[in-house]
Symmetry: C2
Subunit: 503 residues, 2 copies
């Protein structure tokens, strides 16, 4: 059939089929958003069933022989423009990857994910890793099978990494984390010798409504289009997108922690600006999807840290903030505020870590995941391994499993290979921001006057519009002239923290 | 294939397939709910597309030969219990009805609906019916074709009525509306001679938050389960259900119209209690669906009018209400409040009409729809016909098309046969409420002390749990011992309004 159609007709067919799948997936995303924001509690079970049904439908549509045939036929076609060709190539890759999964593995993964998640919940409650270990062991076995099945060069972990950060390898990550150790450890040791920064004033009472309004103001001023998105409250902040014209964020408000809402809001805002910047024309196609998790995270972290924790950013904003919360901040100088929001201190919980020690949390998880995959670490001993790593790298004693190995949900979902993308996000962010500073004259000055448009324009031009057209690595080279290097982050960190801690 | 399976296996297959379709339809309902409550404005176009895609998928699933084969095979099976058999019979009916629609008619209806809706919007803006007339004429032609295709006995309008109120006919409706004229007109004439009731105090300023909280209190006290539902704000109040454990209502708040929020809240609450009372076990199957539009409306109107506009209801509630709005209500007696909320006055707009004159608004629409279907009324002259009817039955001069024939959206959607269900709802409500008063000892007393549980229990036992197992008519006979009769409504109206107007 396909043979009788012109390339344009075939491509139109392909696009219609892909957009239909996207419509179903985005309906699932709406159901998921509703689940985290407004779903009444008794509706949870039926909602789970509705999501499972739609996921099944999306899977059926994507694995239909018809679609594969059109993709294969287009793939052999020379009349496509580069974006069209890239879409077809990536779709073929996705189809072929999908076909590697036998139905039994898919079912087993689904069952074990369910078992593992509930075991994790139970173990956290009981504060006992051993309740989780047997299910996690099954999960690790399945992930090993998955790696074999997907195929890899070098370390089996590469197969899983590739799912989140295409092309990333343990070789590259080992090199980066080696640098983390050799450069970041000395910096942290220097900081440890300095007097502790006071940030108690961030934990005074900050009213809910005032915080909410401030968060909305921040989002608007960052350039988040409120006519193509909205903010709501959820237990864990997240960003979700149903298309570039409907990208939603959530936040949470702790009346005794001003930072919690503020930087989660800027962080999710960064993710959302990326999604709002993806091309609507490519809706449903690979070039309309985010490049990778690492690149996505670079956008949230660039805004959260490189911008949102900079002195420049608060230069113009701080006086307004003092006016909003005079009781808490009137006597706190801009400089003391700036120091407080950047305080470095080893801590137990990844999500509460500062910008520097954060990467040791990730490195530990990375080493463990790698070890689990190549068999050098045993699931049974994981809590001990964890605690030793925390002692070694963060000089901190883990008091119990709940605050240690049980703190993250990721492994219970089978998400091995995900954690490194958090650190990669920070490192890409530093390299991108450095490039933006070079390429946009007066960028720092505009930020210090509260004008973020020049930065957003740069991001909308250089990072956002390509989707999966470039890999992370290609995008990084294109934008910064070189592959990802840890040095940009280290330069940024040294400069920033030398100032803060008078090193 | 089906032949080799046991009845239980076949029925299980049927149920799984039907529930899958329900999951898709309920996902569409979530998308629709979001569209009316939280959707950012730029997201509207993609949302429309997502809904269209899911509707197409639901249609494909329901018209799959597999499903039809299972249904037909089960239909010839004698091992089913009565509920199972009814599900299969109704599914077969639905399948066969679906098959009557040729693809061309479906496409034409979809196109004309779109054209008609936009023409209606444009005509309303320009206050000129003739802008709407050509599109509406095409719609009427299609509805005539549809009626022929569906088949009918007697008047072609019966085919369309049947879509909303199975088994209802013009013969029955003509008889009812004849009674409306012969009984209601004299009552209204008596009322017209009486001094006008003052309801100005309902239009003082009632604060938004206080109204919102009052609405929530009302819903909870009616017995609406907030853990299986929620209320939000939308432009037009509505109820939507994703399953009996997630039934949502919306309201709107006009700070200068206390009645607007209050009775729309009770009205939607009545719809919601019905949906929450449908059997969860029958999710996705006909016996898990509402009986008919008329029965659905009977539930909203029973709560809104028979309960919510009764003296009993306000006996215990009114002192609290006075405390909530002392500036507005302190000097207004319960009796004056009761009279105000039941004031009878001819008006132009259906949705603003009182409990009595309302039915003339419906009768006019019914006569017009019937006339359009049998060709005795021409679309071209419709605004003149409308205005004459309003003069004749409501003694009111329609000043322009916007406040006349263009006030309702229904015809632009192709919903011919829908309007009568509003009146039927009121008439069923009166007959049901009369039965409940007879069957539940002390019902009025419990209502007057603010305890609605005996009423809700009666509804949950006698009306809600059957879904489509009974037709409206069967249900009515089962519950009240007789078919629908106008007399229950008339007795209720005479008694109530004789008191209010001292007739």
């Amino acid at each position: 059939m396909a043979g009788n159609k012109s390339t344009a007709e075939q491509y139109a067919d392909y696009k219609i089929k892909m957009q239909k799948i996207a419509d179903v997936k985005n309906a699932i995303a709406v159901l998921g958003w509703d689940q985290e924001t407004y779903l009444p509690e008794k509706g949870a079970e039926f909602r789970g069933q509705q999501i499972t049904t739609l996921s099944g439908i999306a899977h059926e549509l994507f694995t239909s022989p018809d679609l594969e045939q059109i993709i294969r036929s287009l793939h052999q076609n020379s009349d496509l423009n580069p974006v069209e060709l890239k879409n077809v190539e990536l779709s073929l890759e996705d189809v072929e990857k999908n076909k590697k999964y036998p139905a039994e593995l898919v079912a087993a993964l689904s069952n074990i994910t369910n078992e593992c998640y509930h075991a994790w919940i139970k173990a956290r409650k009981a504060n006992d890793y051993q309740i989780y270990a047997p299910a996690l062991a099954k999960m690790v076995d399945l992930k090993k099978q998955e790696a074999e099945l997907l195929g890899y060069t070098g370390h089996p972990y590469n197969a899983l990494l590739n799912e989140y950060e295409k092309g990333m390898t343990t070789t590259e990550l080992d090199a980066i984390f080696k640098e983390v150790k050799t450069s970041l450890v000395p910096l942290l040791e220097e900081i440890e010798l300095k007097p502790e920064i006071n940030k108690d004033f961030l934990h005074l009472h900050y009213g809910k409504d005032a915080q909410w309004n401030y968060g909305i103001t921040l989002l608007k001023q960052m350039g988040y289009d409120m006519k193509a998105g909205r903010q709501d409250i959820s237990e864990h902040p997240f960003t979700t997108s149903f298309n570039p014209l409907d990208v939603r964020v959530t936040t949470r408000i702790d009346e005794n922690d001003f930072g919690n809402m503020t930087w989660s809001c800027i962080h999710e805002g960064g993710h959302a600006l990326y999604e709002q910047g993806l091309p609507t024309d490519e809706y449903g196609l690979p070039c309309g999807e985010a490049t990778s998790l690492g690149i996505h995270e670079s956008q949230s972290r660039l805004w959260e840290n490189n911008v949102g924790r900079s002195l420049n950013f608060w230069q113009s904003r701080y006086p307004q903030l003092q006016e909003l919360f005079p009781g808490n901040l009137r006597t706190v100088s801009l400089h003391d505020f700036y120091k407080a929001i950047n305080k470095v201190q080893s801590s137990l919980i990844r999500t509460e870590a500062d910008e520097l020690t954060y990467h040791f949390h990730i490195m530990i998880r990375y080493e463990i995941e790698k070890g689990l995959l190549d068999g050098s670490i045993d699931v049974k001993d994981l809590n001990h391994v964890w605690n030793e790593y925390y002692q070694q790298y963060l000089h901190i004693k883990v008091p119990n499993d709940a605050q240690g190995i049980l703190q993250d949900i990721h492994w219970s979902h089978g998400s091995f290979g995900y954690f490194p993308t958090y650190s990669l996000g920070s490192f890409y962010a530093a390299q991108f921001f450095e490039a933006a500073q070079k390429q946009v004259p007066g960028l720092d000055e505009s930020i210090s006057t509260g004008d973020y448009q020049p930065l957003l324009t740069w991001l909308h031009t250089n990072i956002h519009p390509f989707g999966r057209f470039y890999t992370s690595n290609e995008l990084c080279k294109r934008v910064t002239g070189k592959p990802l290097e840890f040095s940009a982050f280290m330069n940024y960190a040294k400069k920033k923290y030398s100032g803060i801690y008078s090193l």
